[in-house]
Symmetry: C2
Subunit: 484 residues, 2 copies
């Protein structure tokens, strides 16, 4: 075996070191262990629980959310156009399906689309953005992508310098942050400039901290861009307009390309919180700012639709230098096109049924139900965590996650070190083994030295969620007793 291994082209020593470096906690070792436990449960291995609760990933349908009828009816007809003759589908869904099929070459979603996406869908997205912001959007600025992740990666690719050492591209990313960013920067060998969100002030984004982080990084890289996640993942904060303005000013001063991850724009729960897109704020700040380069990202996977599996997403990229845009258009062409079925899903989201159309009532009912339940769950989760000794949780203002801080006894921290785990990883593994609840340790998202967190989604059905939180509470008390 060892002899054979040594003959390999690829070993840990010869593998791309950037691949070795990258980590993606949302699907990391704890999730692998959760999968094993599921298998053990099926095989009848006795446990203190009967089911694994996957609170590690924002996977809406997996946790019981039902697909929107309107959306799936349109999708079924573009998939199998014979259904256009069925009497079981409302006329407005048929009209939309026909319109999408007309946008496809040969009238089939099995043909390639243009690399930036189907023209009519790009137009619908631009219309949606214009209506949302009260600021015009051009369909040429809109690019469909295979989930927001693919769009983010293709924009980050443009920003790389192609050089090493202190000439590497510096990309500012929040801490805590969604680990797609740290993973991609590791894969691309870019330099992450980590700025810390202010946990003491609802995970707000302080400009002084942006300045600190970029100034410290300047000797080590060439700062090129700033990533902002709003609403925040994993932190759940919703930025105010003023906060966004100050970030834009900072980006202007430092000559940074702005990447605004706005995939949770439909998920706003807190009283007084409101979603402002970076595009809207930037365009309304006047001539000095309105020509800044900005890419914003949206996804079919979150919001009220939760269609993760379709890998639908889009970016709006504004104010690119025309020569750069040509290069960008070229660079995405080798990937041929984003999944056409995912593009169709996006169209259903940005162009939903309108009042008076046959699908409107049901669509509104289904959408409202999902969002109302998420709001209730956001409040329940915040309240419950804050009722537990040794846990502090900022309000879940938006998105789909809570990121509570856990105050761990020194003996637990020592024990974790002995086991070569971060303290929060140690905690999350025990939580999983004892209760079946799968969360992600805060260290996977980044956190201030000496603080410990975990991320949990707020997605389990509300009736389950109460029981889950109760089980969690009991575990936490046991844990504290054990290591106090």
């Amino acid at each position: 075996m060892n002899g054979a291994t040594n003959n390999k082209v690829l070993t840990l020593d010869t593998l791309n070191p950037n691949v070795v470096k990258m980590e993606y906690a949302v699907r990391g070792p704890i999730v692998a262990r959760a999968g094993e436990i599921e298998k053990e449960l099926k095989e009848g291995v006795p446990k203190q629980f009967t089911k694994v609760v996957k609170a590690n990933i924002g996977d809406c349908h997996a946790t019981g959310q039902k697909p929107l009828t309107f959306l799936r009816q349109v999708l079924a007809m573009v998939t199998y156009p014979e259904l256009l003759n069925s009497r079981d589908f409302p006329e407005d869904t048929k009209n939309r399906a026909r319109r999408l099929l007309e946008g496809c070459r040969g009238g089939s979603i099995g043909s390639y689309s243009d690399s930036p996406g189907i023209a009519v869908i790009r137009q619908d997205i631009a219309q949606y953005i214009s209506d949302r912001d009260g600021v015009p959007s051009a369909s040429d600025d809109v690019y469909l992508c295979a989930g927001a992740s693919a769009g983010i990666k293709s924009v980050l690719t443009m920003l790389l310098t192609g050089k090493g050492g202190t000439d590497k591209a510096g990309i500012m990313i929040p801490v805590p942050q969604y680990p797609l960013y740290s993973a991609t920067l590791a894969e691309y060998d870019a330099y992450p400039i980590r700025y810390y969100l202010n946990e003491e002030n609802h995970w707000s984004l302080d400009v002084s901290e942006l300045k600190r982080s970029i100034n410290e990084a300047k000797p080590n890289c060439r700062p090129k861009a700033i990533v902002i996640i709003n609403p925040g993942n994993p932190t759940g904060q919703v930025l105010t307009r003023e906060n966004i303005q100050s970030i834009i000013k900072f980006a202007k001063e430092e000559k940074l390309f702005i990447l605004a991850d706005e995939v949770y724009q439909h998920n706003i729960y807190a009283d007084g919180s409101q979603f402002f897109s970076f595009k809207k704020v930037l365009k309304e700040m006047g001539d000095e700012y309105s020509s800044m380069e900005l890419a914003s990202f949206m996804s079919a996977s979150k919001g009220f639709m939760g269609e993760c599996g379709y890998r639908g997403g889009y970016s709006e990229i504004i104010n690119l230098d025309p020569a750069v845009r040509l290069q960008y258009n070229k660079s995405i062409s080798a990937n041929l096109c984003p999944p056409v079925s995912g593009q169709a899903v996006i169209d259903c989201i940005v162009n939903p049924p309108k009042p008076g159309e046959p699908s409107y009532e049901l669509f509104l009912k289904e959408k409202t139900k999902v969002l109302d339940l998420l709001l209730q769950k956001a409040k329940l989760v915040t309240k419950t965590f804050n009722s537990i000794e040794g846990i502090k949780c900022n309000e879940v203002q938006g998105a789909m996650y809570a990121f509570p801080q856990i105050f761990l006894p020194p003996r637990a921290i020592e024990e974790a070190k002995k086991q070569n785990k971060t303290p929060d990883s140690f905690y999350c593994f025990q939580l999983l083994e004892e209760t079946g609840i799968c969360t992600v340790p805060g260290s996977g998202f980044g956190e201030k030295e000496g603080t410990y967190h975990f991320r949990t989604t707020i997605l389990p059905p509300i009736e389950e969620l109460e029981a889950v939180l109760q089980k969690f509470k009991e575990f936490h008390i046991r844990f504290l007793q054990k290591y106090q």
Copy 2:
């Protein structure tokens, strides 16, 4: 305007130089011009033709091929499970749809799958490969991906060295080749080791040429892998078992990871040609070879299904070092999962209706019709090109393209140089402007210095194809007369 441009973060000077370097001819400038011409035709601009014939890309449904009924029925039901109650779908399609939905979390294709794909689909693929090769395949070796392209890029990523200069990863690629490879190597800043296919001998792959190319490259890079496209794109050759054996021996001697692009495995036309997978040949060469690292790629986009838009594909990666496999599994996790609808498409292809099942007859009829027509078209195209003076075309043994050599008069070559175009690009642009036929210049795929080619698909409907070839012939004669 210039002032604004100078304020940009991204200009041609600051853009990732690897992005600037990369080219992807299949969607290059000639295709952009074809799109403009389509617009002009719609606007009533008078032309010598009424329609653009897009022979630039293997986009089956766009050129009139109809989707397989079986496949789209299964897909419609997994999309909108209420259809499982419909009396209009055969029982075997329902069983398959139910089985796929059971493989999805929450019973919805809107949930994320595991990053390597849905377990039951991986098993079906492994079964398909085992049956095809008569050699066992393990589902853990199978990875679904967003079209073969995404799978190829993720394997190439592992092979990078993370270093520059003469430590760059050297990847052997054929010339001519499908430009995904040259584009990806440019983007990843890897070193392309170009080996030439032998046009004089049906585009065969000579080991002496492999040796020449790698020996010349060794001072400049660290050779890590060899890419083989079989059946060939754009060249249409089908490798013999003996040829494959000699390539495997070469790879063993040079300690190369093998990437076998086998997306056209169903597209074999020539008498006496047969598809042998690299996996089968390697496994049957005995112990010395059977533990070599090999990744082979397959796609939903080609074959008899032509479902390009779904971005379905898979790779089988065998004999990875276990530690490397863990790293690979980690590296694909940040991309979450391949499109689940595309995964379902793949399942329909690897697990088609069986004799006796209600969908079998129609499925077989539709599949046979597509493949029979492709065979007729392959023969027609080869024959017609070889009947034209100044054109020489190897037999289209497989895949979906012809790659004829065109012998251009010196005056045409001079004129091309004046216009700052390659001679074959100059030729293809004139062909497009005069006839509406859109092909891709050979220079986009690579060709021997001083030779000129173009790639055309064989996909247009057979009744159209004859007229297209006639128009082509007339153009070619005019072109020769003009520049003789």
